[in-house]
Symmetry: C2
Subunit: 268 residues, 2 copies
Amino acid sequence: MGAGSRRELDVESPSNPAVRMLRELHSREGRQQHGAFLIEGTRLVAEAVAASWPIVAALYDPVRAGEDSQLASLVARIPGALRASPRALKAAGDTVTPQGIVAAAKMPSLLALVDPVDPIVLVLDGISDPGNAGTLLRSAMGAGARTVLSSRGSVDLFSPKVVRGGMGAHFRLKLGEGLPWPELAAILGSDRAVVVADARSASPYYGFDWRRPAALVVGSEAHGPGPELLERATATVSIPLEAGVESLNAAVAGSVILFEAKRQRAVS
Amino acid sequence: MGAGSRRELDVESPSNPAVRMLRELHSREGRQQHGAFLIEGTRLVAEAVAASWPIVAALYDPVRAGEDSQLASLVARIPGALRASPRALKAAGDTVTPQGIVAAAKMPSLLALVDPVDPIVLVLDGISDPGNAGTLLRSAMGAGARTVLSSRGSVDLFSPKVVRGGMGAHFRLKLGEGLPWPELAAILGSDRAVVVADARSASPYYGFDWRRPAALVVGSEAHGPGPELLERATATVSIPLEAGVESLNAAVAGSVILFEAKRQRAVS
């Protein structure tokens, strides 16, 4: 391909409407307006396609598709994918290193109720770092959660960085985003234990019986859970640390507890 | 203080030799040449001081020290700390948001042998992301490891980003850095189980008996452990994941296993 395909671009300029739309998905307002979120790179877009997730727009670099058979077969599966110039792709995307494909995935519809038999639900309460949120989604997916909720004040689960860190979790998990606590509690239902990770708790996380349906609430490192949340808690748990060690990374702490819950369900 | 202290700066220009020395610590060569590594910010420098760790140079912003009593009392405990201009501090440091203090901590001396009774040693084998390495050091410290080793080809454990992510682990752990495997194995000693985390392993990590002294080897996400390492392994373990989920973040995977080892030692 090379020089030949350059002449056949659908999208040349960064001011093209498709580029502008993808660019608007970098912000929460834009995502709400368009009802879509940004997915970048062959791997993530392939996860969306594998999940038969609706893709509302896609731009790709035809020169790279000519050199990369994975990208070529991926775009062949996306009807309406547009051939774009590298600078259009760079403008549409959020990453420093431009990817060969940038797309818009349809926002999932709102969650009604969590299935009462789901063994574990992860709740992010005030997690502000997008890398940590993405890592927690990936861990939740690996540990068998089917739903992850976030309370109002947490990082937006559909921001490009969280989506990248989630490594496909957005297409496998049911997500409820930015919920006020009363609404979040209603979605969890009343039969589920609400277990709050709290460094001040005297109860080790492995002392809790995770074989019954539970929601694990992981909060911000800096502040710990607030009084409103602690009132709703069935139990609090902590990860015992060596003397003098203050805390763990929030994504690590949540993951350690998620996998202990999975371990208990596996060995019992 | 304010305007008055401005006139009494020890270090005004980014070309001052102390700034140049700190700047050289951003690179591996500079750290080897000076036998020191960079520590930035009140919290990290306070960890070094609390551990009575030798600090070979320190620059701080006297205006910020006039407003921040924590910083003021910290610099009072560092003999020879120099008052520096904000632009000198920015040039010396590695962070985007300039910190009120930037210092050089003495490199630890080389490790001879791991104490045979140490319950667990963490080995980083080909971990290239500095954020993951820093998080693993922090987790290792919390999970009771006293020694962390890295094999040749891993990210430099004394790079500024790893040091920041370690949150003080560098002053509490014995570290051996960039070791060829034969040397690393000699440091571990012959009586210690070498357990390699390998996603392809059929043995769940919680089926291993972590109550005897072990070394946990965590490798790169992308490639998994190489044949040379697998030959040295006493056992391989994996973290069972939900069907279709490819892998966990490397820092999460290592941490989940470290805390399972700690759990087994606690409940037995």
